[in-house]
């Protein structure tokens, strides 16, 4: 079994014990800081770092706008600007289809994991029974288990299920259905959040005759929207970017998600293929943009979630 250090829970940062709102954005007016020339140095360093971190994105976009054959010229300003890769890409590969598949799998994975993890997390907060904390320790301990250990048996499980003549291991179902059973990291995150809700609310509802499921649905969930959104976008991100599971399960090109599609695309059009790196770069840009949009729409939730759980 995964190691569960008996006397102490798995080490989690102290920030996790505090309200989820703490992300470092609170005012810190009395902070001792370098003054004068120190500030200039700090700003100069930060600006250089920004250039270094952003350069790869700029290069990628620029490469996607250069004429075929000039993808790797060093200039960052394409002369002339070529938009046609963004038209050609849709016929060079079933990109729209992969896009749709990824969105569908991502949404199913997020919705499934949000509700199941919220239910389990509330169970750990609301219900009192002997061995509860030990069981929660077990939840945390499973975080250490490498997916590689369960990867093969999971495949065999899906492989053994036939639905209407179709083997489930050859469908997209394994990419999200496991999420119906909650996920340890999100149970942890949501439990932290639920612990911050006033317990009196639950007790009052209980006195009014509400059963635990009703309390969960009508009181806990509406009060926890920020945390639920955070879990949803984290799972969407991990589903959107996951290559391993699609590699294991999907053989049919029409079922590919974007990571697998892009991998197939780069193998076909890039390395060893017909050297259309211009299209590969265009596909990479299109693949990255949805994540950037989601990030900018939900930035606060991302930052809070990471500061609380250290999510990758």
């Amino acid at each position: 079994m995964a190691v569960a250090p008996e006397s102490r829970p798995l080490p989690v940062p102290r920030v996790a014990d505090r309200p989820i709102e703490r992300t470092g954005d609170e005012a810190q007016s009395a902070r001792p800081r370098m003054g004068g020339s120190g500030q200039i140095l700090v700003w100069a360093l930060l600006l250089i770092l920004v250039l270094a971190f952003l350069y790869p994105f700029v290069w990628l976009i620029s490469a996607s706008l250069k004429p075929q054959g000039e993808t790797f010229t060093s200039s960052l300003l394409p002369q002339p600007l070529i938009w046609q890769h963004y038209v050609e890409i849709w016929s060079a590969a079933p990109a729209l289809r992969w896009f749709f598949n990824s969105a569908l799998v991502g949404i199913l994975a997020s919705v499934a994991v949000v509700f199941s993890s919220a239910l389990v997390a509330f169970g750990f907060v609301y219900q009192r029974f002997p061995g509860r904390d030990a069981l929660f320790g077990l939840v945390i301990a499973t975080l250490m288990l490498p997916q590689a250990v369960v990867m093969v048996p999971k495949f065999l499980i899906w492989h053994s299920i036939q639905v209407g003549g179709t083997n489930l291991a050859a469908t997209q179902v394994p990419l999200w259905a496991g999420n119906l059973f909650a996920s340890p990291i999100y149970i942890f995150l949501l439990r932290q959040f639920f612990l911050g809700l006033p317990r009196d609310l639950f007790e009052a509802a209980k006195v009014d005759g509400a059963n635990p499921l009703r309390i969960w649905w009508s009181i806990v969930l509406p009060l926890s929207k920020p945390a639920l959104v955070a879990v949803g976008i984290f799972e969407f991100k991990s589903s959107w970017t996951d290559l391993m599971a699609p590699l294991i399960y999907l053989q049919n090109r029409n079922l590919f998600t974007l990571p697998l599609g892009l991998k197939a695309f780069v193998d076909e059009f890039g390395k060893g293929g017909i050297q259309r790196w211009d299209l590969v770069m265009t596909a990479s840009v299109l693949f990255t943009i949805p994540m950037l949009i989601i990030f900018f729409l939900a930035q606060k939730h991302f930052i809070r979630g990471i500061a609380t759980t250290g999510m990758k």
Partner: protein, 284 residues
């Protein structure tokens, strides 16, 4: 209410763990029934040169990635903590690579690291340093991968920044009254106060580094082609190939348990180490 997790734990974690352990004593290719072969897979773990190579590659990567990621992320977070406005913007920029899909990151860095046209070598050229073959020279493939992995350290910056902002100002003020120099403040106040967070990221980043897969697989591997880039063969890539490309499910299961054992041992060593160095507020 706990039933979804309990059910999932039994079906998708505990059950598979038992099956995986059992499979590690068999030869199994999914098509034919498993055949019991005793400890052969386990013995092979210690004589398979490719496995040894992949372990070396992975340890090399982790040994470089983890300390650099922690040190650089801490430096960036300290810089952010020094400015009174705009920190949110810089944090966003540092975090952007972390949300870039790993396959796209792999493709992108294959070209940034390209010995001829890549920016990394162009930059070195400006400094009159001859750039190495980051994607071709066996000695430089892994350092190149480390460089790529460090682009994605924004997560850790976000965590450190949040932790730094929770260090009470009074501690610094008291230290200044006592005449403590900035370095002394850093080592006597900042580091102890965020040591819990430092330790946590050490554990998380190590586990992450030992399982690094997607970017490297995208860059250097293609389907069942063999003989490519032994120097980029990371442990999980080799494990994936053994299981789902060669269908050596029994051997792959033994490999997975070896990885689990390594992660547990490394983590326990880190926990032991942390007892000496980590300060928990309010803990005895």
């Amino acid at each position: 209410m706990l039933s979804p997790w309990i059910f999932g734990f039994l079906i998708f974690t505990l059950g598979p763990m038992i099956v995986s352990l059992a499979l590690s004593f068999t030869r199994y290719d999914v098509i034919n029934p498993p055949e019991f072969i005793g400890l052969k897979n386990w013995a092979l773990l210690f004589s398979d040169p490719l496995l040894l190579k992949s372990l070396q590659n992975t340890f090399f990567f982790a040994a470089l990635h983890v300390p650099f990621a922690i040190a650089i992320a801490l430096a960036l977070a300290l810089l952010l903590d020094q400015i009174s406005r705009g920190a949110g913007f810089f944090r966003t920029v540092f975090y952007l690579p972390s949300i870039t899909p790993a396959v796209a990151t792999g493709i992108l860095w294959l070209w940034l690291l390209n010995p001829q046209v890549g920016i990394v070598n162009q930059f070195l050229h400006l400094l009159h340093i001859p750039g190495p073959g980051w994607t071709t020279d066996p000695n430089w493939i892994k350092p190149g991968i480390v460089l790529m992995s460090l682009w994605g350290l924004g997560n850790t910056v976000v965590i450190y920044f949040a932790a730094l902002r929770q260090v009470p100002n009074e501690l610094y003020e008291a230290a200044r009254v006592d005449g403590a120099k900035p370095w002394a403040q850093f080592f006597r106040i900042t580091v102890p106060m965020i040591s819990g967070t430092l330790f946590y990221t050490l554990v998380i980043n190590t586990i992450f580094a030992l399982q690094y897969f997607t970017e490297v697989y995208t860059m250097f591997f293609r389907g069942q082609e063999s003989g490519v880039s032994e120097d980029a063969l990371f442990y999980v890539i080799y494990l994936f190939r053994q299981s789902f490309e060669y269908f050596h499910m029994g051997y792959a299961s033994a490999m997975a348990w070896l990885l689990f054992a390594i992660i547990v041992v490394v983590t326990l060593v880190q926990v032991g180490f942390s007892r000496k160095f980590v300060y928990y507020e309010g803990a005895s």
